[in-house]
């Protein structure tokens, strides 16, 4: 398997990353490299030129609202769905042609977990990990305990959260290089969600690659090294969380001795609210300097500044009222 040359029609974010891999002289190929992926179902366009680059060893958040095309993209990466245009390489191979070779070191949690109603949970976990070729009884039992699952029940009697656990345990207990997780915490209680996060961190520490599709932003924020945000089958943002935060506003709340005049006129300050000695505002990076200067001149008593959450990123990209980012 070889490193794939950057393709001419490649768009900005991915070119940057593939350059970096090549420049840094990393011997490992990209875990996932998809460029200009188009997929239509009849008259519906599911993916309209999607780019997705996942580097080896990273946890990559794949974010988007319902129906954005996340599951379709994962199915393409698995070789279940064929693309209409573009290129897709998973661990250097074409998932449509080299399906089983790629799957040999890959684990998957589907977005909609449906199990055989008359098989027990334990049977399904063992079946899936054996079919994967990485059955590991020690890992399996550890994860069973961690997620607190009774494997002797028939699948038809499991709740949604328990079905999700079965898919998770099957995937986590598999010794794989690449994990494709489609909304993996759907239906889990907060305790098990925390357990899942610990598992993902552990996998990352072991140098494994994880593509985490989600619309749960705090999850992606807590786990991801980089994120790709898609909407309507297109990438709207891609990069590290730090890079993306540049695009958005810091929330600033301060108490001052006397409110200075003209705060509202500072370039990049939005939603300014003044109550007695207390002010709050949403500030673009270019307005931060001027605002801090003005505030410090008037005597800061307390100051809280919060980085933007992915919620805010999402609201800006997907909210109906906010303008699109240029």
């Amino acid at each position: 398997m070889t490193i794939v040359e950057p393709i001419e029609h490649c768009r900005s974010p991915c070119a940057e990353y593939s350059d970096r891999v090549t420049l840094s002289g990393s011997p490992s190929e990209l875990a996932i490299e998809a460029r200009g992926v188009v997929k239509t179902f009849g008259r519906t366009t599911a993916l309209a030129g999607l780019d997705l680059v996942v580097e080896p060893g990273e946890v990559h958040g794949f974010l988007g609202p319902n129906g954005a095309g996340k599951t379709t993209m994962l199915r393409i990466l698995l070789g279940l769905v064929r693309i209409d245009a573009g290129t897709v390489l998973v661990r250097g191979g074409d998932p449509w042609r080299d399906t089983t070779a790629i799957h040999s070191r890959l684990a998957y949690v589907p977005g909609d977990v449906s199990l055989w109603p008359n098989l027990s949970g334990g049977e399904v976990i063992d079946l899936l990990s054996r079919l994967q070729g990485g059955h590991d009884a020690v890992r399996r039992d550890r994860y069973l305990e961690l997620f607190d699952l009774d494997p002797t029940k028939k699948c038809r009697t499991y709740s949604r959260g328990n079905r999700q656990k079965i898919a998770l345990i099957s995937a986590l207990a598999t010794d794989a290089d690449l994990y494709l997780l489609d909304e993996p915490t759907a239906g889990l209680d907060p305790l098990k969600e925390a357990a899942f996060r610990a598992c993902v961190s552990e996998l990352r520490d072991e140098g494994r690659t994880i593509l985490l599709s989600s619309h749960i932003l705090s999850e992606a924020e807590a786990l991801s090294d980089r994120v790709t945000i898609i909407r309507d089958g297109r990438v709207v943002e891609s990069g590290t969380l730090d890079q993306l935060r540049h695009l958005t506003r810091t929330s600033v709340t301060a108490e001052v001795a006397a409110v200075p005049p003209g705060l509202g006129q500072i370039d990049g300050v939005h939603d300014l609210i003044v109550e007695d000695h207390r002010i709050s505002a949403q500030v673009e990076p270019r307005g931060l300097d001027a605002l801090m200067e003005a505030l410090s001149e008037s005597g800061i008593r307390s100051l809280i500044s919060q980085p933007p959450t992915l919620e805010e990123l999402f609201l800006r990209h997907y909210g109906a009222t906010t303008p699109p980012i240029g």
């Binding site: 064929r82 089983t100 589907p110 449906s114 976990i125 063992d126």
Partner: protein
């Protein structure tokens, strides 16, 4: 109105919306089938003598009596015209109503959709009541349509109504049987299976009851399909017999509602027992065996039962030869041995068609696994599409062969017990296995359709029904031979007896292989789930 029935009318409208094509298509199809048969027979036998001769020939041929029943008035055109359709058509109506009843009860429950509906103002008994209202209404409408078609074909009105109501009675009885089956099992396939087994048993009971010369015996009267025949349309029009199906259906429905009241939503009669904590299944083959093994075992049991029963009817065939005039008649036809062979060959052909239904159902599991989302989980592992599809298809093809082997053995055993001579055993096993390639063609057709248009996989059942009808009624309807030849069942060698074996079996096998290959090509190319 009972509180537990709240929402029934809403659910009934939902069910009618879902079945707006399925039910009218099948009802019109079955009614048209009856009408065509009636007018074709009228053309074929314009005068009374011809009709009486034909009717007496049928009554004198045990294999035909076992298959279709007796003609109770040889002078009646309607009796002769509908001999093939009375019991056989009633069985088709019955299977249709089983499928539809389960589709709106246990299938909905197993898919957790009833839970969604149950959260609204829907009484506990409403889903069952709505499903039964649909199937009872559909049975009656189907009966009326059939009566209209028959009157339109020129048959007497009273007999036509009797015939239509006879079919309706069978539909209602088996809708009620399916309602009980849907309470007992937890899976919809098992419920349909149980209902269809009920239809099969009813058909067999009447076959066993009709065949003795003294028939109909008690066995006929134990069979709901026997009741349909004993209404004797165009040969007495005994409307009073319809009390049997009505009473039976009412009591089955009472049982179904009582069982429903005793269990929780989603549960069967028996609570789910815990399963193993560690699984022994490690391959897609193992999974196919685990998922389909129970169904195959149930089929094997049914086929063995049917086979032994059919085999043991052979001495009643010989009994027919008591009168000297009949002996002369049969010697002219090829003698007693030829008569017995013809009877066994006809029964094995029926078994072959029934086993083809197993093949269609087992291969259809591919589609079920895909639409349930299970295939996605398997194909995300190192299992290739080829391997996954082959595990199910091979199970279906192998199951067909195994069932026909058992069928041959069972008919052989029944025959040996009956005549005290087991020398025919080997011949019967080979004769039975000669029906395998035709059933394989249907099984492979499922694969071909599944490979390219998985949503149309269910249409193979329609094709199957059409092919069976083609064989049964093609000659009567004077269909062109090339059309009848479309059916693979026509080409199975009519063993035991004298028949060309090598060419048809090779040709059928080649067609099956080609159809499967077409399916594989399509499956390799398409999205999954489609």
């Amino acid at each position: 109105m009972l509180e537990s029935l709240d929402g029934t009318s809403t659910l009934l409208r939902l069910a009618m919306r879902r079945d707006r094509w399925l039910l009218p298509a099948w009802s019109l199809g079955l009614a048209a089938m009856a009408g065509f048969s009636a007018s074709a027979t009228a053309n074929l036998y314009p005068d009374l003598t011809g009709r009486v001769e034909a009717a007496e020939a049928v009554n004198a041929t045990p294999s035909l009596v076992a298959l279709y029943g007796r003609i109770y008035d040889p002078t009646s055109l309607g009796s002769l015209a509908l001999i093939k359709l009375t019991a056989f058509g009633a069985a088709m109506v019955a299977v249709l109503m089983v499928v539809i009843t389960v589709r709106h009860t246990r299938a909905e429950e197993a898919a957790n959709r009833l839970e969604l509906l149950g959260a609204g103002v829907v009484g506990r008994d409403a889903p069952l009541a709505a499903a039964l209202s649909l199937t009872i209404g559909a049975s009656v409408i189907l009966g009326i349509l059939t009566a209209i078609a028959l009157i339109g074909a020129g048959l007497p009105a009273a007999g036509s109504v009797a015939f239509g109501l006879g079919w309706a009675g069978a539909g209602i009885v088996f809708a009620a049987v399916a309602a009980v089956a849907a309470q007992v099992t937890t899976g919809s396939r098992a419920a349909v299976g149980l209902g269809v087994v009920g239809v099969g048993v009813a058909y067999l009971l009447r076959a066993a009851g009709d065949t003795p010369d003294s028939g109909p015996t008690l066995l006929t009267w134990l069979s709901p399909i026997g009741w349909t025949q004993q209404v004797r349309p165009y040969a007495g029009d005994r409307f009073a017999i319809l009390v049997f199906p009505v009473l039976f259906a009412v009591s089955m429905m009472a049982i179904a509602f009582a069982l429903r009241a005793r269990r929780d939503l989603g549960a069967g009669l028996l609570a789910d027992r815990p399963g193993p904590a560690h699984g022994g299944i490690g391959t897609s083959w193992g999974l196919a065996l685990r998922l389909n093994g129970g169904v195959l075992a149930a089929w094997a049991g049914g086929i063995v039962f049917f086979g032994v029963l059919v085999g043991s009817l052979t001495s009643s065939v010989s009994d027919m030869l008591d009168s000297p005039a009949m002996q002369d008649f049969f010697i002219a036809l090829g003698g007693e041995r030829a008569m017995v062979d013809a009877f066994l060959a006809a029964e094995l052909t029926i078994l072959g068609s029934i086993v083809a239904a197993y093949g269609i159902s087992a291969a259809g599991h591919l589609h079920a696994e895909e639409s349930a989302g299970h295939a996605e989980m398997i194909l995300a592992t190192s299992t290739s599409r080829w391997r996954w599809a082959t595990s199910h298809l091979a199970f279906a093809l192998g199951g067909v062969a195994l069932l026909m082997l058992l069928a041959g053995l069972a008919v052989g055993v029944g025959h040996a017990l009956d005549v005290g001579d087991s020398s025919k055993m080997g011949e019967l096993v080979l004769a039975s296995l000669a029906r395998v390639p035709a059933a394989w063609v249907l099984t492979a057709l499922v694969m071909a359709v599944f490979g390219w248009a998985p949503r149309l996989t269910g249409l193979v059942w329609g094709v199957f029904a059409a092919l069976v009808v083609l064989v049964e009624l093609g000659a009567l309807w004077e269909l062109p031979q090339w059309l009848v030849d479309v059916s693979p069942f026509v080409h199975s060698p009519k063993l035991p007896g004298v028949a060309d074996v090598l060419v048809p079996l090779t040709a059928l096998t080649v067609v099956a292989v080609l159809l499967a290959a077409i399916g594989y090509v399509g499956l390799r190319r398409r999205d999954l789930p489609a």
